[in-house]
């Protein structure tokens, strides 16, 4: 397949899978009472996009995925924190990918952390609710736990895609 077409197909598929993951998270009720605390399964899609399609496409996919997800499952107001959170995670992970020594787990954990901190910061400012700040210490262990999980998920999906789909990795 022509590479531009292939990338477009991948972008569409990644957005669709990302939305499905967000919906699964929503169905399982993992979103919780706090806007900042959730596992962020869709972060897997951002990692895959960075690995398969490069930084620019990953940013676009992340932006569309989080905006659509917020509009579909949680209402417009939640887009205010989910979009900056997802984009922040994407930028942090894109920067960390410059280091060849880091594995998927480390990059994913840093992304989850960036996502949570951005969301907490935005929701504390928007809701004028200082109470959220007192949950910040939870963000560290939570990012590590879910980050490793999503990072390994992305690693195995990536390995399968590259073996069977003959997809080249984007080298930084």
């Amino acid at each position: 397949m022509h590479s531009a077409n292939r990338n477009l197909v991948y972008a569409g598929l990644l957005i669709a899978v990302g939305l499905a993951l967000q919906y699964a998270e929503h169905l399982l009720g993992l979103s919780g009472a706090l806007p900042g605390l959730k596992p962020g399964l869709a972060n897997m899609i951002t990692i895959l996009a960075l690995e398969l399609l490069g930084v620019r496409m990953a940013l676009a996919i992340t932006c569309i995925r989080s905006l659509l997800g917020a509009l579909l499952f949680a209402g417009f107001s939640s887009a205010m924190y989910s979009v900056p959170g997802a984009l922040g995670a994407c930028v942090v992970m894109a920067l960390l990918r410059c280091s060849r020594r880091l594995g998927f787990a480390g990059i994913s954990v840093a992304g989850a952390f960036a996502n949570n901190v951005c969301q907490t910061a935005v929701s504390a400012l928007v809701l004028q609710n200082a109470a959220i700040v007192s949950y910040l210490w939870l963000v560290g262990p939570q990012s590590i736990l879910f980050g490793i999980f999503t990072g390994l998920g992305a690693y195995f999906s990536c390995r399968v895609l590259k073996q069977h789909g003959k997809t080249r990795s984007v080298e930084v």
Partner: protein, 125 residues
């Protein structure tokens, strides 16, 4: 292809933990010493208690259309002694004593929080 897990990832984990605790202490430090206890019912301010007036701990009952909770307020902390909600998570949580901390009773739509000397309002201006 990149590895799934390397020893360098551990340094990321340590940095993330350190940053989370650092941010937490920075933010709670920013809020200052605890000053008052604010009670919200269904998202609206319901009552406010100045902590320095409670050298003697006092029991206060909050009875609303959503349910009833009994608080114990002192000049250092606040806790929920009893509640008619089914899960009693607010009672099990125990006392809170730092600025920004909250006790939430979802069934009774009750939020109890400790306000500090400074508010986040100052941050967004």
């Amino acid at each position: 292809m990149r590895k799934s897990f390397t020893k360098w990832d551990v340094s990321i984990f340590i940095a993330v933990l350190g940053l989370a605790f650092g941010l937490y202490f920075l933010c709670t430090g920013f809020l200052g010493e605890p000053v008052s206890i604010e009670v919200e019912v269904a998202g609206k301010p319901y009552a406010r208690y100045e902590m320095k007036r409670y050298h003697q701990p006092e029991e206060i009952q909050i009875r609303t259309q959503y349910g009833s909770n009994t608080l114990r307020i002192s000049d250092k902390d606040v806790c929920v002694l009893d509640a008619d909600c089914p899960d009693k998570l607010d009672v099990k949580q125990g006392a809170i004593h730092k600025s920004g901390e909250t006790i939430v009773c979802l069934p009774n739509k009750l939020v109890i929080k400790i306000s500090g000397e400074r508010d986040l309002d100052a941050l967004s201006e």
